[in-house]
Every structure is written in structure tokens, then in C-alpha cells.
Point group: D2
Chain length 279, copies 4
């Protein structure tokens, strides 16, 4: 009946698919093909103290990479939208101190150099999954890309976005499921773990899960993270804040730094059951 | 902005909630509060041989209850809709031989006596979650009820449907998540495990997950079942057929009887990690 | 990828399709093939006065049929669920006085005789679109059926439900679009007028639209009703209450009786532009 | 329960709201507050001949603006993605010849000068509704902006995106509904005309409707366009191609140039019934 874009075969991704599963290696940390990534850190870099404090906590508890937003896409133009370039410097310091590679979002193609100078992994956020100029830029980078699924993007469209990146030469892509938009309001988004299972069958790229945005509420993050590990994800990316109640962004869904150790242990146990090791 | 029915507090369920978690006990099998249920069997009773064969396989592999449809709601009036009363007799025989309690669906309030005479647990299917005359009938039964979430029902609406049953006196209710309808087509329905986590916080009723209907495809059933166990469900209900390729209904999503033992072992390992035992 | 029930061709409906468009005639009123139906009345029969008052107002303003619920499916068991059999008597009186045929919902297959004794058109509600025992019962009636689309049912599934009715012998079916469930909350449901356009191409059955439930708010009902007429619907079914603020059910979305005349005039003007006449 | 960004009041838009309805005036054409816009032209500029041919046809039939894509966001990187800067020259020529103002999409903030040099109205596409760097750029332009709703964006989010533009100083914003993503497949997207009615109540900005993308099929475009006019939209934006079967993009949903005159007449009749005039 009704059409959608007819999808050309994934020329580059299919080549990747035929090879063995992709492993993303950055500064001694691995993700994919049996290596489970624990990516943690604050939603947004708010200050030097908050970021270093969160980074130390997650590093000590076994995180394998540090996440943190410098540029935050926000629905309202009046919401806190990140410290920008200043945040990148803070992330670099946190990374230097803890040894954790940094995952941070690129929002504007005109910032690609500044972000790539700091980021070990460049994130493309859900709102930008079909921002083609941005996909082309990260496709030309010598940095792994963490590509988040749009909140109403299909699995096919996510793979097409990955193909846009791969076509430019960058095949080091981590796919990320972070919840889709449905009628249900018990959670902020509906985490689609069936999509993770389907992606694992259809591509050799690693797939990670962000349970924080989908949960929208701290107490739901751990069960969803366990489920993500059990469905076969290659890692999770989770928000951790030293004092979530004071967070400038998404406080209710950020884990407290103090509870991350126990959290990480539960996830590691499930990953281990599936024959995977952390990092 | 726009309204929905204003929901009265869950008078009966709240009373249940204040007590300790509900355990459903049938013929020596338990489900809830640390007891993980493995409910397995054919989608539909097609014949005596097929049903006995599936029942024996799942019993030997450690299932705790036998599922099987006598009356099948089907989208098209020309699809196979079950053997009806004849199927109930076959289920009784399978149950007698294996010792497994039977879970089967009641579709028509006028069949309540015949179904209750055989069923240890009476199922209300997703299409009937808001069939109020049916909810009233099962609310008056002396049988546990397995209440499936409608494919576009919210968590609130599922709890209201449970309240309809409980209000009539029957508080032995097992809630069941089986996937919601979204735009995504990589799976037949989107399994909403966030809803399971939310339900576990909001009620003391046991919650089970049906990964078969959501997956729509055999190879996705095991990962989704693992995720269900990991998110904290109290059991799973899964379709198993001796020869799925010959199934009259939902063949592509039914597990083969021969693969159920390994399947059950994987689920049991995760349940055990969460401190639960099978049955 | 993932399956849905494979749909058998619509044997009976296809036969209807090949003939000329179906016209539903009841007590001198027509709906379909150029005859536009204005079905109006209270959401629920609350009392004799309220129902007669609403019936007189809509009759005087040009309504072609009277709607009113005797049995109301409600999400919560504690919400007002209709006067039942007593309401049927009130509807009969309102119908006798105004001459308007009555459209009312059948909720329970065990009430089929009582409802059919009063109803000129028997409604199957959205929650029951896949209640197969109910579809079979109305399929055996000598009464037109108004079949509402489920809030997450596809166009294909609606046609299959219609086929279930037609297969039993009753081909006098009015399809009704009343909004589907989506993420959007600006309206209660998302009225899917594209589905109406698609249905008009795929079947010769008349299609009406219920803008009240989708709008969820009085001020949105008129624009949506105009759009329904303009997209090519064969009628609308709309809730009108003498004093909406005192309504026991869905007050915010019911039109006031006093504003129905102007409402009807706007709809009639659009229907006329499309070459249709009221009733 | 679960959160979304808490939305700050729309500071700038609220100011607009208090004033009289916004009218967008470009080169003698008006849109808003009683002026109905007929924006038509090819999905994508494929060649000089195709664009001039389409432009002449829609100009003669009464279109008030010319649409045409120079940069096309496409799901697959292998799909035709527009002629880019070359297309802008062709659009300028078509505009000069016909006198129609040009509406064309800006995809990359780095192209803002080239696009603004040609475009009378700059479009932000559905995939970019939350591309904040792009919103800031168009917010600083001295050009009206046509802002399309994302396929899973809520009405609130669309208004927030508009606020992002207005906050930068550009209050000449045309909102555009183009269909949301739902489970239904009878149409490509579900056109949400309830959102149009809600937007008309909540803002004084003009709202137009794109029926082509939602329909996904030519025969559904006219009924949906009629419905858009009837619900109270201030205009429609529709794809017209001289030979749709040869179109490089979205052929099945483009109207043939030869049928546009009759199409425009039907829409004008409904707009007139609502007291509006074309252009």
C-alpha cells in the first residue's frame, strides 16, 4: 500500500557483517565480541567538581568509558544546554585523571574538530540520527562513533544511518538503543530490547543500550540495564551523578555515584553468565 | 489537556499491595515471590498427539505449567480457531499424564463452566483485556487468572482490568506483558519490559512475560525471555511445538520441543542469579 | 521479517465491494452512497430527562439517528457503567417521540436479544472490535451493525472484523473510525482520517467518524467533524448532552445541546459540497 | 511518573499569541489569518525542464507558492539526494518566470547563505525539527520559516522548536503537520489533523498541512488535503510532478501536474466555505 524509501542493500555494512564481529578498541578498552562496555558518567558536564567526582566514582566501580555531554540538545530553548567548549576541557581532565576514554556528543558539524580533539568516541544523539551532514562528518573522522537510534526510527533506518557513516569510511560504529516513543507513560520511552536482539542478528556492529533515558526514573534503570545485558547487548551507557537531586538535566533518571558499584556488579554478573567480560 | 478516564484508586489491589507479594499456588507449583514460573506448551491444541508430545517435552525439561489454546481468537474468520471443547479434553489428558497444571484461555463468558472444569489457571487474552463481562466472570471463579495486557493498553489500564477481576472476589491474578503495538516491524510487537519493571513496583501481583508473540520469530524468543527474567519477571509463558513448521497457528514463533531444555536452562540461570527458583 | 496473521481474502466483503456502495436504511433514514448520517445523542443514558432532552435537541437540529449508551465499558470498575436494561427503555421512548432510529452498544453476547429488541443499529465498541463471540452474535442479527475500530487496530484488522460479521450473514455494516492510540497527548486519541480515505477505496461499506472520543475536548470536535466530512466519510457520530458539565461520563468532550444546530449546519455544508445530502 | 523536559513558557510565542494572528507575506502572497496558501511543486528539483514544467502548471492552476527540494534528506545514502546548489539556480529561474515565491529546505547550517539567497521561505524538514544549530540559524534569517513537525514530535515539542526560532528574533514561522509515525500501514504516516486543530487554539502562527508524505499514495492526497482545509489549516503544501511515474523521489505520492487544477478548485471551495481566500 503505502511506501517507504526503498532501501538499497547495506553495501558497506554488509561487508562488515560478513567478517567477524566488530570490536571497538579505545585506549585499551574494548567493546563488542565478548567485551561488555560499561559507559557511565553524568548526563551533562555541569562543573569541574561534579564531573571529576562522577568520573572517579564510575572509574573506581569498574566503568570502562566515561560519558558526559558538553552540548545538550534540549526541547526548550530555555533549558540548560551544556557548557560547550569549556565542558570539553573538563572531560579531558577527567579522562586524564581516571584513564577512561571519553564518549561525548557532537551536535553541530561546525564543531567537529573541537569535539574530535577530546572525544575518544563521538556520539550522535537520537535527535540527530537522520542529520545527514552530521553523519557525513563523523563518517570522515578517525574516531569510533556511538550512533543513537532516533526515538521513532526503525531498525532499518538506524542501519541506514550507520551505512551513511560507514560509506564515508568510518566503520567503527557502536549502535545504541535508547527507547522509542509509544503511547505508554509508565516509562519515559519504551525500551525496545527486541530491536537489540534483531540488530545482533542483522549486523556485526556492537549494540549498546541506554536504560536511563527510557526509564526516566532512577529505580527503573537497574532492572532495564539487567535486561539489556541479558538480551545480548554489548554494553550499556548510563547516567551517574554525584548528587542527582541537584542535577541541571535529567536528575530523576541519573543514578547516584554511590550506588553505581552495586549496579555495575549486577550487570557484570549477567554479562558473565552470557560469557562476556567487562571491557 | 485531553482527558482519559479518571482512575479511581485500586481499592482491592491496593489492599493486596500492602500485604506481602502474592504467590499463586496450583497443584504444588508456585509462581511469584521468588518462585519463577516456566509456562510452556503449544500455541493451540491441534491434536492429541501434538499436545501430548509438546507437554511431555516441556515437562521433562522443567516447565512448571502447561499452556495450550482451545479457543483461539484469530484476526481472520477463516483462520484455524481451535478445537474448542474437544481441546479441553486433550489438555486434561496431557495434564493428568505430566502432572502439569493447565493454563488455557477463556474467550466467551458462556463457556466459563467448561473451561473452569479443566483449567488450573484461566487466561484472559490480550484482545479481551477490556472485555468487562468476561472479567466479571473470571472474577467470580475459584481459579487463578492470567491476565494479558492488551496490545495498546497502558500499565494503568492493565491494573484497572485486574481491579475489575479482584473486585469480584478473585485476587489470584497473574499479570502478563506480551508486547505492544508500535511503528517498529523488526519484531511482531514491541516487548515492553519497562512496563514489567513498573508493574513490579506498583503491585504485589506476579508478572509474567510472553516473549513468543512479541518476537514473532523463533530466534528472538530466547534473548527476549532472558531479558524478561533479568528485568525481574516472575515467569515466562512460551510456545513450544513438536514440529513448529507444521503448526496450524503462529508456527514461526514457536520453539521446537527439542530445543526447550537448553532454553529452560538459560532462563533458570538468570532467575537463579536474581535469587529465584523455578516453580 | 516478523509475521502477522496471514489474511485470507475478504470473501464476503469482496462480494459487497463489487456491487454498488452499501446504503444502510433504517426507518426512513439512509446512510451511505451520498446519504450523510448525523448520529447524535448523549454518551450514556443517565436519566429519562437527560436522554429525552438531548434527543429532542438533536432531532430538531437535523440529526438522522440517536445515539446513547446503555452499557458503557469503562476502564475503572468504579466508574459509572450505564443503566443497562433500564436505559434501553428510555432510548425506546426517546426514539418513539422523535422518530429517530436508535444506535446503541451491545457489550455482552448474553444481552443480544434485549438490545436487538430496542436498537435499530447495534454498535460494537472499540474495545470489542476483536471480541469474536460478540461479532458472531451481531453477524446473525437482522439489524445493521456499527463497528468501531479498536484504538490500536489496523485498517486490515477492522476489515477482518467486518468480515467476521458478514460471514455470519449480516452484510449491513457501518465502519467507524474513532481515533487510534499514539504518543501525542494534545488530543485524547489521534483521529486517523487517512484510514477513512483508505477504507473508502477498499470497501463499499459506509464509513462514519466519531470525533468526540478522539478530540477529548469540546472545542476540537467541530473542526474534526468538518475534516471527517471533507475526507469523504458517510457520516459522523457525536456526543451531545443537555448540560455537559453535569455528565456522568466524558463530559468534557460532549457538545452542549444548544450548540448542535450550528454544528450540524457546518457539517451539512461540507457534505453538500461533496455532493451528499443529510440522511 | 516518567518525566519529559519541563517546558518553560513560550516567552516569545506567547507574545505573538496575544497579538492578532500572524500573516506571512512574501512577494505579494499572503498566508494566515484568512489567507489560504496553496504551496505546490515537485518533491525534488530533478532537472530544469521538470521544475519549470511543474512550476508553470501549478502557477496556472492557482498555486500561491512554489515548493521544490534542492537538498533532500534520504534514509539511504544511496538514494538520490538532490542537485544541491544547482537546484537553487533552477528554482530561481522557475520563480522568476512564474512570479511564485520559493519554499525550499535548508539541511545544513553551512548552506544557510546560499539557500537564503534564493528561498523566499526557508523550510526546516521533519528530520531536523530538533536540529538546534539549524533552528538557531533560521532564527537569525530575515526570511519566513516553514517548520515541519517531526514524525514523532509532540505538539508541545513543535511549539518549543518554533520558540527556538522565535527566540533568535525570527517570528515569521509557518508550522507544518506532515504525519506522525504509528502502527498503521494503510498510509505512510498518520496525518494528525487533531494536532492542527490544537495548534490553531494554542498559537497565532499559521499552520499548513503536507498531505503528500502522509498519504504515500496519490489517490489519498486529495481527500486528506480537503480534510486539512476543513479542519482549519491555513494552507497545504503538496507535491506535483509533470510525470510522477518518472520521479526520482516519492513518485507514488506526487500529483500529476495535469490534475492539479481540479485539485486546487476542490481545496479552494472548502477554504471559501470557512471564509478564507486563496493567497
Amino acid at each position: 500500500m503505502a511506501g517507504t524509501d526503498v532501501l538499497t542493500p547495506f553495501r558497506v555494512l554488509n561487508g562488515i557483517h560478513e567478517a567477524s564481529p566488530t570490536v571497538i578498541s579505545v585506549r585499551g578498552r574494548r567493546l563488542g565480541n565478548g567485551h561488555f562496555g560499561l559507559i557511565a558518567g553524568p548526563c551533562t558536564v555541569e562543573s569541574r567538581d561534579q564531573t571529576l567526582s562522577s568520573a572517579r566514582a564510575v572509574a573506581e566501580a569498574g566503568a570502562t568509558m566515561l560519558r558526559g555531554g558538553a552540548f545538550k540538545p534540549r526541547t526548550s530553548p530555555y533549558a540548560f544546554s551544556g557548557l560547550g567548549l569549556e565542558a570539553l576541557e573538563i572531560l579531558r581532565e577527567a579522562s586524564d585523571e581516571t584513564g577512561l576514554p571519553v564518549v561525548t556528543e557532537l551536535l553541530d558539524p561546525r564543531h567537529v574538530e573541537e569535539v574530535a580533539a577530546i572525544a575518544d568516541v563521538v556520539q550522535v544523539g537520537a535527535r540527530n540520527m537522520q542529520n545527514y551532514p552530521l553523519l557525513v562528518e563523523v563518517g570522515r573522522l578517525d574516531r569510533p562513533v556511538l550512533l543513537k537510534r532516533g526515538s521513532s526510527a526503525s531498525v532499518d533506518e538506524l542501519l541506514n544511518a550507520a551505512e551513511c557513516v560507514a560509506k564515508e569510511g568510518n566503520e567503527r560504529i557502536i549502535l545504541c538503543e535508547r527507547g522509542i516513543r509509544t503511547f505508554e507513560r509508565a516509562t519515559r520511552y519504551t525500551l525496545d530490547l527486541g530491536a537489540v536482539a534483531a540488530l545482533k542478528q542483522r549486523t556485526h556492529l556492537p549494540v549498546v543500550v541506554d536504560p536511563s533515558h527510557a526509564a526516566g526514573e532512577r529505580s527503573l534503570v537497574l532492572p532495564l540495564a539487567r535486561a539489556a545485558a541479558a538480551v545480548g547487548a554489548d554494553g550499556i551507557i548510563v547516567e551517574v551523578h554525584p548528587r542527582p537531586d541537584e542535577a541541571l538535566c535529567d536528575g530523576p533518571q541519573q543514578l547516584a555515584a554511590g550506588e553505581f558499584r552495586a549496579f555495575a556488579a549486577e550487570i557484570a554478573a549477567i554479562a558473565s553468565l552470557l560469557g562476556k567480560q567487562i571491557g
